[in-house]
């Protein structure tokens, strides 16, 4: 049984349908990538999984138990955490406070503030600074660390590479295996297709709210991915 | 999506009316005829009640213009009601002119006073604007109580001679005031409808729907607000002068009563439908019906009104009229813009 199973969900913004029968599965310890152009529905899919949007039809199962329609704070308690697009740290909280506030839920697990500092040592020396004073890459580290503080079983990362220099992106992606090693599964949503394909063992490509391609990256050629991505 | 061709600008036009609004205007015309002839068929106390109803319709429509369209939730409009009353009384007592002349002057003075007030209040945003407007309005009774020239705390009354100068016979006087109240309500609503059909109306609708977007589209939101606030103050001052002309006496407590001129008005507008021209009219009808039935229970009717207003705000925030209009597509006043394509 998969850790997360998304089964044919339709999600709407008011009257506008953004997702059409999307399905995906994430196994324990797996890294799954979701790619697609702007407006393909990637962020909508993330919002549906974390409970910010509720699908009109279809099911979302965590460990085989339905979780669709649950409040976001409940889903965090169930073990789903999000690194939101654009990082969205709490500006009036220090770096350390940003991490601690997410750990307040008290879900047991391997991640503590010390372990997060071990993962991203630069944060230890900056823990008392305002989060807004950090560089983009460091802010992204705080955002990942903050999500980890709730000890998730499933970590959703929305556009990790957005606005970051390639070297910083590589550094951050280089940390993902350590997170997986702690027993956490990861879903990465990316526009940086190469980075996503390198990191994941399963790939889904969305286009206009529909899944147009899925499979292990190794089985896909660059041409088929490009065709699915751009819809040509 | 249809693309408009720039080469043929005359191929489109904007139409406001629809079948519902044509029926609506017919109903309004019949009702107006009925109201205008009331002195012929209604007794004196009914006439007074109707006059009071019209002033409430006017005040509620003006508050609705501020809160429902311009995003200015004022709880200080009683300042202009009372000011209008005082201006009319002072003018009538000291000038020897017909007191009716005082009505437009009251509007003018209210408008002038409103200008500095709105510039100060616009420094506060949202709910803080609301409490700020309350503080400013609180200053008025405090000041008027201190000035012996306006009768201090005991206020002033119009002597019989001045009252008689409006018109010699009591009936003529009361009819005149009745028609003025009716005219005030009709003109207020008419002016609001006319305003909403202009570019200013479009700007107001944009501010109401999304202030940020309106700003980023280059609208001077604050200028629109200043204009609307001052215009509303002019009209509120005129209505206020008429209200106290009916009462023949004015005191600081009655003139600047937040309960009479703001609490009731807000409940009326919320119940009838905020942000709809029809709302205040429907709300006033509900308010007076409740008041007639519950008058014997003292403050209970205010409590009932408050509970109803809260329930409506939670369950049907567009009010009774908004609920009906959304459901059945009704509109009495031709306000919905529709682009019409001509061949």
């Amino acid at each position: 049984m998969s850790l997360l199973e998304v089964d044919a969900i339709d999600t709407f913004y008011g009257d506008f349908q953004a997702l059409y029968g999307i399905s995906m599965a994430v196994d324990e310890g797996q890294v799954v990538a979701v790619i697609g152009a702007n407006g393909a529905g990637k962020s909508t899919l993330m919002k549906s999984i974390v409970g910010l949007l509720h699908p009109a039809r279809g099911r979302i199962l965590l460990d085989g138990r339905p979780v669709e329609g649950m409040r976001p704070s409940k889903l965090v308690a169930q073990g789903i955490a999000l690194v939101p697009e654009g990082r969205r740290l709490f500006p009036s909280l220090s770096v350390g406070e940003n991490l601690m506030v997410a750990g307040q839920l008290g879900r047991p697990g391997p991640w503590t503030i010390e372990r997060v500092f071990d993962l991203f040592p630069v944060l230890r020396e900056r823990q008392h600074q305002q989060s807004t004073s950090l560089s983009g890459g460091q802010q992204q580290m705080v955002a990942i660390g903050r999500a980890l503080m709730s000890n998730p079983r499933l970590l959703l990362c929305d556009e990790l590479s957005l606005g970051l220099a390639p070297i910083v992106v590589r550094e951050i992606f280089g940390r993902l295996p350590e997170i997986v090693a702690q027993g956490t599964s990861i879903v990465i949503v990316e526009q940086d297709v190469m980075q996503a394909m390198a990191a994941a063992s399963m790939l889904y490509c969305l286009q206009e709210g529909r899944t147009v391609l899925s499979g292990p990256p190794k089985s896909l050629t660059a041409d088929t991915v490009r065709a699915a991505y751009f819809g040509v | 999506m249809t693309v408009l061709e720039a080469s043929s600008p005359r191929a489109i036009s904007v139409r406001f009316s629809n079948r519902s609004s044509r029926i609506g205007m017919l109903v309004v015309a019949v009702a107006l005829l009925f109201c205008a002839t009331a002195p012929l068929w209604a007794d004196r106390s009914s006439l007074r009640l109707y006059g009071e109803i019209y002033t409430y319709v006017a005040l509620a429509s003006l508050w609705n213009l501020l809160a429902g369209y311009a995003g200015l939730v004022s709880v200080g409009q009683q300042a202009f009601v009372g000011l209008g009353g005082y201006v009319l009384f002072l003018l009538a007592l000291n000038s020897g002119l017909n007191p009716l002349i005082g009505i437009p002057i009251a509007g003018l003075v209210s408008g002038l006073i409103a200008i500095p007030i709105i510039f100060v209040l616009l420094r506060l945003r949202g709910a803080y604007f609301t409490i700020g407007s309350w503080v400013v309005a609180e200053i008025f009774p405090q000041v008027f109580q201190q000035i012996p020239a306006v009768g201090g705390a005991s206020g002033i009354s119009l002597p019989a001679a001045v009252v008689k100068s409006i018109a010699a016979s009591r009936d003529t006087r009361e009819w005149l005031i009745y028609w003025l109240a009716l005219a005030m309500a009709v003109l207020t609503i008419g002016a609001i409808v006319a305003l909403l059909r202009t570019r200013w109306g479009l700007a107001l609708a944009a501010i109401r729907d999304n202030e940020l977007a309106a700003r980023s589209n280059g609208m001077d939101v604050n200028r629109t607000r200043v204009v609307v606030f001052v215009a509303a103050a002019v009209a509120t001052g005129m209505v206020g002068s008429l209200i106290f002309l009916q009462k023949l006496t004015v005191t600081p407590v009655a003139a600047f009563s937040i309960n009479d001129w703001t609490v009731n008005i807000i409940f009326i507008t919320v119940i009838g439908g905020i942000g709809r021209v029809e709302g205040p009219v429907i709300g006033t009808a509900v308010f007076f019906l409740l008041r007639q039935f519950l008058a014997d229970f003292g403050s209970i009717y205010i409590i009932v009104l408050g509970v109803v207003a809260i329930a409506i705000m939670l369950k049907a925030p567009r009010g009774l009229w908004g609920f009906l209009a959304d459901r059945y597509g009704w509109q009495v006043f031709p306000l919905t813009r529709r682009v019409v394509f001509r061949n």
Binding site: F90, V101 | T130, Q146, V270
Partner: protein, 287 residues
């Protein structure tokens, strides 16, 4: 010495205004809600203090042990059952709390008539201390002022040093993300309102002791609290204390000039500050 006396009395009175302001400011800070009924709620707690003291035969300070937790519970329920449903747009919270204000006043009128009430404190009420000749410091105003300093300081510690305060600030920054970090906004807003009403209850008890109060006393309390917030600068807790003190001094000096002027002088001080510095005198330094 008269003037020194006037100013000192104003400062002590300002502590009370800071208590009005702190609850109001806390709610706005956490959930961007301006509670128009805040003054009326303080009056309700004054009645609670009055009747607890009377019925149980205890002194008002002991009564706080009952009135404060009870008010906090009422606040939590009020937020969870009613006010949480109004959040999200501008108009509903404003108009619902406005309606609530009018309802509270008229329910109090039904229950207790328009008569004014006041708690008697016996000797403490007249006890005073004269550090220099001509300067009288009443025991009660002094207790009230010290309480205000302790409450504001306590709120400061709670906001900046505790997990609950951290959660309040996170929710205030970004309510959507706060939920995604496991914080339940509905519960947090309930806690904030509980805290605000606990502070209101302390203020209400002092009101019951020091002055006559009646069902319609609330709007003025709201306005004083609001003026203290604007004078002090939005969003800063120590600023509300400073704002309360300045308002108290303005009223006290105004009253010294003319018996009828204290409230008017407060309004004028508020308008002056608004004209000169729209962000208040002690704006919040941190974002």
């Amino acid at each position: 010495m008269d003037w020194l006396n006037t100013i000192v009395q104003g400062v002590l009175l300002g502590g009370l205004y800071a208590l009005f302001a702190a609850g109001l400011s806390l709610i706005f800070g956490v959930m961007r809600l301006v509670n128009i009924a805040h003054g009326d709620i303080i009056v309700v707690t004054a009645y609670m203090a009055f009747f607890t003291t009377r019925l149980l035969g205890i002194d008002p300070f002991t009564a706080l042990l009952i009135v404060v937790p009870l008010s906090a519970l009422v606040g939590y329920l009020l937020q969870r059952l009613l006010l949480n449903r109004t959040l999200g747009e501008d108009l509903p919270p404003l108009l619902v709390t406005f309606g609530l204000s009018v309802i509270i006043q008229n329910v109090l009128l039904l229950l207790f008539k328009a008569d004014s009430h006041k708690l008697q404190m016996g000797s403490l009420e007249v006890a005073s201390w004269m550090p220099v000749p001509g300067l009288y410091i009443g025991a009660l105003p002094l207790i009230q002022f010290c309480t205000a300093v302790v409450v504001v300081g306590g709120l400061q510690v709670l906001f900046y040093r505790t997990p609950l305060g951290r959660a309040f600030r996170a929710t205030s920054d970004d309510p959507e993300i706060a939920q995604l970090m496991g914080l339940d906004n509905r519960h947090l807003f309930g806690m904030a309102m509980a805290l605000a009403l606990a502070v209101a209850a302390i203020a209400g008890t002092f009101i019951a002791i020091r002055t006559n109060f009646d069902p319609f006393a609330g709007p003025n309390l709201l306005i004083f609290g609001f003026e203290a917030i604007i004078i002090g600068g939005l969003g800063s807790l120590w600023g509300t204390l400073a704002g309360g003190v300045l308002l108290g001094v303005a009223q006290s000096v105004g009253g010294e000039l003319n018996v009828a002027w204290p409230i008017l002088a407060g309004h004028v001080a508020f308008l002056m500050v608004l004209l000169v510095r729209r962000q208040g005198l002690f704006p919040k330094v941190m974002a």
